[in-house]
């Protein structure tokens, strides 16, 4: 193990490390801690310039209550859910099929189709912006959640295919060969043999895509504009315009907007990291 395990080092260094750890963490999360503190302060603290002192009272319920009751925030959150969940399902479904096709069959042009997905996944959004916006307008889906979902599914299929294909390639080939010898059809092999083995990959992709899509801002402002369809990342700017200079509310709003992916991450940590670090180890 590198660096030397702390248990094998000298006592003073062990103690230094143990105290350094929490300090480093606080320093690292300082901007976030500041916002969390802001979000529970009462309005009066900002008027009396008590920005960094002890809160004069703890207004957790008032502030967060106002975020949910006094603004469009619940609608934005709901929109985010209605955009994110279908995208996750769609992208995972499509890419488990494309990944299967590219990972199992050695047909001509396989690698080029695979590279098309990989390259497309890295393209800057701006090169797609004008045509995708026009396409969405032409389909009558501008400023709808459906329009946003369809694009997200398509774009995420690139990354997901890369992921799925590499995962499926690492599966034991003999299993599929054996099934073929038994005369099992290709579709049944996909459904009954390969899909059950892909569960870890499906879980990893689902949490990753959830986070990516929940946090998307660019496409939200390109393809939607009102509270009827905008997700929370875009909604937070109108929320902030509504509560300009009310820092306690803007902080509370930001925390609410950021929370779902954070919860997802802590609940599904193992899968999340497995997905993110794919390829970091040979």
């Amino acid at each position: 193990m590198f660096p030397t395990p702390i248990a094998k080092t000298s006592r003073p260094w062990q103690l230094t490390y143990q105290t350094l750890l929490p300090f480093a963490l606080i320093l690292w999360l300082l901007p976030l801690i500041a916002v969390a503190v802001f979000s529970i302060k009462p309005d009066g603290d900002f008027a009396s310039a008590n920005y960094w002192g002890w809160p004069s009272s703890f207004n957790f319920i008032e502030n967060y209550g106002l975020v949910f009751a006094g603004s469009d925030m619940p609608r934005y959150l709901l929109n985010s859910v209605l955009i994110t969940v279908p995208t996750v399902l769609g992208a995972v479904a499509l890419s488990s099929m494309t990944g299967f096709a590219l990972g199992i069959y050695g047909f001509r042009g396989n690698i080029w189709i695979f590279f098309m997905f990989v390259a497309g996944n890295f393209v800057p959004f701006q090169i797609l912006m004008v045509p995708v916006r026009e396409l969405t307008l032409d389909m009558g889906l501008y400023d709808t959640k459906t329009g946003l979902v369809l694009f997200h599914i398509a774009f995420q299929t690139g990354f997901c295919t890369l992921f799925m294909r590499n995962f499926i390639r690492a599966l034991p080939k003999e299993l599929i060969e054996a099934a073929r010898v038994e005369g099992v059809s290709e579709f049944r092999i996909f459904w009954y043999v390969v899909l059950p083995l892909m569960k870890p990959a499906l879980a990893a992709l689902a949490v990753l895509i959830f986070t990516f899509i929940w946090n998307d801002y660019f496409w939200a402002i390109v393809l939607t504009q009102g509270a009827d369809s905008q997700p929370v990342t875009a909604g937070i700017t109108s929320f902030n315009a509504q509560y300009r200079a009310a820092y306690h509310l803007m902080s509370a709003g930001s925390i609410v907007a950021a929370l779902p992916p954070v919860a997802m991450f802590f609940l599904m940590q193992r899968h999340f990291i497995a997905g993110l670090t794919l390829g970091a180890v040979k």
Partner: protein, 311 residues
């Protein structure tokens, strides 16, 4: 397997169609599996790339007729100061964003221990990556705020400042990059933590016996084994640097005086400007950005192609 065992007394297949399908199944199946994903991807990603190239030769406000203007948009770009400001900022982003890689490695080395609660520490250090860039941008713009921001409060105790980071054209880009480095470093950290987990302990022991330690051990024994992690860290950091949009849009909206623009932001600003859409000019900027990105994509794909061959 949950499959029922097929009866062995097999009668000859009754229909010709079925046997044709049986014979060609393996050849056709991949295309059937590929079709839905490929259709989506072609329509929403691949075709639009070519359409953008085409639009960049037109003048178009998104409503009326398109007028073919040839290379005029690119000529205008050549004389556009804002374009060069954006390009310069893109270069600064690319260079400084790379700091996320050594910083991530440093934190990973710091956290690669087995003390009580280290798992929680690792997840909390990784935390900034999970938060949306919009929120990161808001958090940092308050952090930099000249009247009450934490940065100036701290500077004030040392008798320095106040500095209006986001309002000063000298600092603005660096201030935004610092905000971007926060989640990006967390990402690189997690890549290296995973990589460090897989480092061969025998080689470390062998190195120790040979008297290597500290920096020499890191450079000669550990880093070579972290190569895959470093490669991925490079790829995601370059892409991240060139995609920077959210932070700029949230923190400064390109200002002050357009000094914090990058190509990705400038393109959006031009194409969907409040003073009328300029799709053609925007597409031309997007094409330039695309070509820069293409250099890296090609490099990445070449490496992947070699790895595939090597199998």
């Amino acid at each position: 397997m949950t499959q029922p065992v097929l009866p062995t007394t097999h009668v000859a297949p009754p229909a010709v169609a079925r046997s044709w399908w049986r014979r060609n199944q393996i050849r056709l199946a991949p295309w059937i599996f590929l079709a839905p994903g490929m259709i989506f991807f072609l329509f929403y990603v691949i075709f639009p790339i070519f359409q953008s190239f085409q639009i960049s030769f037109y003048q178009w406000d998104g409503l009326g007729e398109k007028t073919f203007v040839g290379l005029y948009n690119y000529e205008e770009l050549y004389y556009d100061d804002a374009f060069y400001t954006s390009l310069r900022n893109n270069v600064i982003w690319l260079v400084l964003y790379m700091l996320a890689i050594p910083a991530g490695l440093f934190i990973a080395l710091f956290l690669n221990q087995t003390v009580v609660g280290i798992r929680l520490y690792k997840s909390l250090f990784f935390f900034p990556f999970v938060i949306s860039q919009v929120v990161v941008g808001l958090v940092f713009s308050w952090f930099y705020d000249p009247t009450f921001g934490l940065l100036n409060t701290i500077l004030g105790t040392f008798g320095a400042g106040p500095i209006n980071v986001l309002g000063d054209e000298r600092y603005v880009t660096y201030g935004i990059i610092a905000a971007g480095l926060w989640p990006q470093t967390a990402y690189c950290m997690i890549l290296y933590l995973t990589g460090l987990n897989a480092v061969d302990p025998e080689q470390i022991e062998a190195g120790r016996l040979d008297g290597a330690k500290g920096a020499r051990m890191l450079w000669y024994v550990v880093l070579p084994q972290l190569k895959p992690a470093t490669f991925i860290a490079f790829v995601v950091t370059i892409i991240g640097a060139l995609r920077s949009f959210d932070l700029i849009s949230i923190m400064t909206n390109g200002g002050p005086f357009g000094e914090s623009r990058v190509l990705a932001f400038y393109m959006f600003e031009v194409a969907l400007s409040e003073y009328g859409f300029r799709y053609g000019y925007g597409a031309a900027i997007a094409v330039v950005l695309f070509l820069i990105m293409m250099v890296y994509i090609t490099f990445f794909l070449t490496k992947m192609y070699r790895d595939e061959r090597g199998r």
